[in-house]
Amino acid sequence: MRRVGLRGAVSMSFALKNNFGSPPKCRSVEHTRGSPGTRSWKFNNFEHICCILPCNFAGPLQLGETNSLPVSRPDVITPHLAGAMPNVITPHKAGAMPIQELSRKRKGDIDNRENGDAEMEEQQSRSEDDDQQVTIKCFREPHSQIEKRRRDKMNILIDELSAMIPSWNPMAKKLDKLTVLRMAVQHLKALKAGASSSFTDFNYKRKPSFLPQDDLKHLVLTAADGFLFVVSCDRGKILFTSESVLKFLNYSRLELIGQSLFDYVHPKDISKVKEQLSASGLYPRERLIDAKTGLQVQDLPVGAVQLCTGARRSFFCRMKHSRTVMKTEDKTIQPSSPKKKESQRYCTVHCTGYMRSWPSTQLDAESDDNESSHLSCLVAVCRVHPNDACQPSREVKVKPTQFVTRFAIDGKFTFVDQRATTVLGYLPQELLGTSCYEYFHQDDLQHLAETHRKVLRSKEKIETSCYKFKTKHGSFVMLQSQWFSFINPWTKEVEFIVSTNRVLGPGHTETEQPSSSKLLDEESKRTILIPGISSGITTMIYAGSIGTQIANELLDSNRVNCSPSSGTSSPFCPPQDRSPMVSSHANTPNDEVTDSDTVSKSGSESASKGATYAGSDTHMDTARSPPGESSQIDLDSMVGPGLGILSNDEAAMAVIMSLLETDANLGDAVDFDNMHWSH
C-alpha cells in the first residue's frame, strides 16, 4: 500500500515536470557535468522531496495533466495516480515551493543524463538497493523521451542555423541536417577569409575574443550611445575623444583634442568636474569603498602603484553643444547659422569611467612637462542623458492653456504651476495653502465636492465637468480638470490629488469677463438678498471646510480599516488647528460682498491669506506627522542610534556601507553554498 502511494507520488512528479519544466535548454559543460558527489546529493534530495510531496501539494493543478504524462507505462501510472489523488488534494499554500524545487532538480537531472546517462544509472543502482528507490528509478523519465527531446532541440537549432546561411534558393526544399551543417562550415570559412585581418590578429591568437576588437569597440560605443573621452587629470586637457562626439555635441574630434575640457563644460559645473578629476587619494572615503566592494576591486590592476588608477567615476555635468555649424565656410551652406550662434545650449551628460595612468611620453608627445613619467587621466564614456533629449517633447505635453496644480487631500493647494498665473491671475504663493473650494463658484460646489470624494477613493483619473474658477480680478474663468489621487506605491495611501486644468476656449477669460462680472454682481446681490450677513459668512466657511470634511471622511474610513493607535492623534488635532483659520476666512466674504474696488481688495485678501499660511502649514504637518513619525521611530529602533548624531562623513560612510550590503542581493547564494558544503 505504501508502495502504491509512493508510485502515485512519483509519477505525479513527472506530470509536474511536464507542467513546470521548460523545454530543456542546452547548458554548457560546466553545469551539466558534476562530480559524483553532487549528483548523489541531488538524488537524495530529490527522493526526499518526492516523499514529502503528497502531503503538501496543491492537487487540482494536476487533474488536467494526466494525459500529458510520459506514456511509457500508462497501465502502471494512471491507475495509481488516480488512487493517489484524493489523498493529495490538500490545498496548501506552501505547496508551491517544493514543486518548483522539484521541477528544477529534475531538470538538472535530465541535463546530466545527456552526458553520462549510463554512468549515472550505475551510480544509482550501486548506491540504492532500497526497494523504494528502485521504484523511483523505474519511474524516471524514459530514455526515449529524453532522446526525443534532445533530437527536437537539435532540429530546432539546425532550422535556426539554416535560416542564417545565405542560401542560393531560400525557397528550396528543406535541406537535411548534415548539408546544413556543412554549409554553415563553408559560410564560417568564408567569413573568416573575408575578415582575415582580424582573425590573424596577434591579439586574437593569444586570447581569442568572440568578435574582432574593432567590431566590439564599435558595438560598445553604439550600445552606450555616447562618446568616449580621455582627459588628463592635472590640467583637464582632452587627450582623446571618439568621433561620435560630433553626433552628440556637434564638435569635430580634432576641434576638441588638445583643448581644455573646462572650456566645454558649463561654468557652474567646472568645480564639479575638477573634483572628479582630482586624485582619489584625497578622498579616503572613496578608497575605502573600493577596498570593501570585492566586486569592484577585482578589476583593479594588481599592484597599481598609483592610488588613483582604477578608481571608478560616475558623474553628471553639462557640456556645451555647438549649435553653429563649425567652420566659416559653412555659412554659405547654412545661412541661418548666425542666428543659431546665440543659442548656446548645454546638454547633460552622464560620464562613467575610471582613472588610469599612462606614461606621458607616449600619450602626450608634444607635451613639455616630462618630469612625471606617468600621467593620470580619466577615461570615460559620456552619454547624453536620454531624458534630456526628450525634454522638449515632455514640455509639450502640457499645453499652454493647461496648468497643473496639486491639492492636499483636503483640497488645499500645495503645488501650483507657474502657468496658473497667466490664467488665474494669482501668483502661486497666493494660492498655496488655501482651499480650492474658496475659488469655486457656488453652483459647482456640489459637483466638485462629489468629484473630490470620488477621486479620493478611485485610482482612475476623473474628469470634472466644466466649472467656474474665480480669478484674482474677481471674474470667473471656465475650467475643466482631470483629477487623480496620487497613491503612494508603498503605503497605498492617498497622498495628494493632482489636477490638470484646462482652460475651455482660448481667450475665454477676456470674452467672459463682462458676463462673469455680471454674474458676480448677481451673486453678490443674491448674497445680500439673503437676510443677514451671517449667511454669507456661513457659506464661505462652508466652502473652505468642504475639503477638510471630505478629507476627514477619508481619514475616518482609513482609521476604521487601520489600527486604532495610528489614527488617534489625527482626527482631533486638525479641527483645533482649523478654527483660527476659519475665523480669518470670515473676513474675506465681506470683501467680496462689497466688491467695489477689486484691486485693493485683492491685496487685502492675499494678506489675509498670508496669515492663514502658518495655520494651514502646521495643520498639514500634524495631519502628516503621525505616519511619518511612527515609521521613523521604527527605523530608529531598528537601525540603532540615529545617524544624525554621527558626523557628516561617518554618516555618508554608513550609507555606503549599507549599500554594500544590499549590492546584488546575493545573500541567498551564499547561504546555498554553505548548505552544499555542510551536506
Binding site: 567569413l191 581569442p208 552606450a224 547633460t348 502640457v398 502661486p428 504663493q429 554618516a651 546575493l666 546555498f672
Partner: protein, 381 residues
Amino acid sequence: MTPERERRRIMSCEAARARRRAESQVLIDMSQLLPLPSSLRPQLDKPSIIRLTISYLRIHTLLSGFADRQRRDEEGERETRERRGAGARERREEGDRERRDAGDRELGEGREEQKKEMGETDLYLRILGGFVVVVTTEGDMIYLSDNIREYMGLTQVELMGHSIYDFTHPCDHKEIRDNLDLTAGQSGCGGLRDFLMRMKCTVTHKGRTVNLRSAGWRVLQCRGCLKVCVSGPSLTCVLFTCQPLSLTHTLLHTHTFTSHHSMDMRFTYCDQRVTGLLSYRPEELLGVSVYDLCHTLDLHTLTKSHLNLCSKGQSVSGVYRVLVRGGGYMWAETHSAVVSKPRPSQPHQSKPSPPLFVACVTYILSGVEEPTQLLSLGQMN
C-alpha cells in the same frame, strides 16, 4: 527474426553510425572555426556548438549591417566635409583604416606591454563598468561581451544563444518584452531603451562563485538602443549595456547628497550637503515625502522609480525637477537602494528579509532654474 531483417538492421545501424560520425566531424570543424579559446572547444557539446554558431552568424550579420550603414553615413559625411576644408580632408584620406586605428593611436600606440596587460576593448568595456548585450526581439542573446563574467559569474559561452528569459527574473519578463518590442514607442525617445532587470548572478558579494542553480539576482540597469538590420535575414536587435547598480564607486562630490527614507519615501535622514544645494535644513526634511519635493510633472518618473525600488530593491530615478526652498527648481537624478536587515546566517529563508530603509544618492544636475518662482507650499518658509 529472419537473417534478412537482422542484416538490414545491422546495415541501418552502420549507416546511422556513419552519419553520426560525419555529423560529429562537421561539428568539430565548426567548433574549430568559432573564435573561442581552444581550451574551451573540447568541452562544448553538439547543441552548444550550433547555438554558438548561430549567435556568431547573427552578430556578424548585424555588424555587417552596421558597417554598410556606417559606410553610407561616412560617405555622405565625407562629401560635406570635403566642402569644409583642408584639415578635415586630410583626416578623411585615411578613411576606414583611420576609424579602426583611431583608438590605438591615441590610447596607447605601440605599447605592447600595455596591450598584453589589458586589450584595447577591455578598456572600452571597463569604462562602461558593465557589459554589452545584443538581444534579438525574440529574446535570444546573440552576443554578450566576455567581461560579463566579472559581473555575473556566468560566462559568455554559457549564455550566448540562449534566451534572455531563461536568465532573468520572471517578474521582469514583461518589462523586458516591452523593451524588446520594436513598436514600443517609449514616449517618443526614438529607439532608446532604459530599464532595470534582474539577472541571475553566480558571484556572491564576497567574490565566490556558486552553482547556477543557487544563483542570486542582480539588478542591472540596461540602457541602449534598437537596431534594425535588414540585409539578408532580417534581424532586429536591441543593443544595450548592462551596468550593475552599485552606488559604491560614486565619489560623493559637492553636487550630491545622501539621504535615507522610509519605504514610503519620507526622509528619515539627510546629510548636511542638502542645505548648500536645496537650502533645506536636514532636520526640516524629516518626515517630508520626496513627492512633496518634486515638480508635479515629474511625479510619474518618481513613482516609476519607487515601484522599481519596491519590486527590485534598487532603482535609478531618471531626471526630475526637485523644488528648491525659497523658489525655483533643479534637475536631479536619484539612485537608490533598499537596505534590508542583515539576515542572520540562516539558510533556506525563501522570503526576503524585511526592508529597513531606502538609501539614496541624489545628483544635482543643474543650477537653480527660475529661482523666483514659488511652486509649492513646501518651498515657503
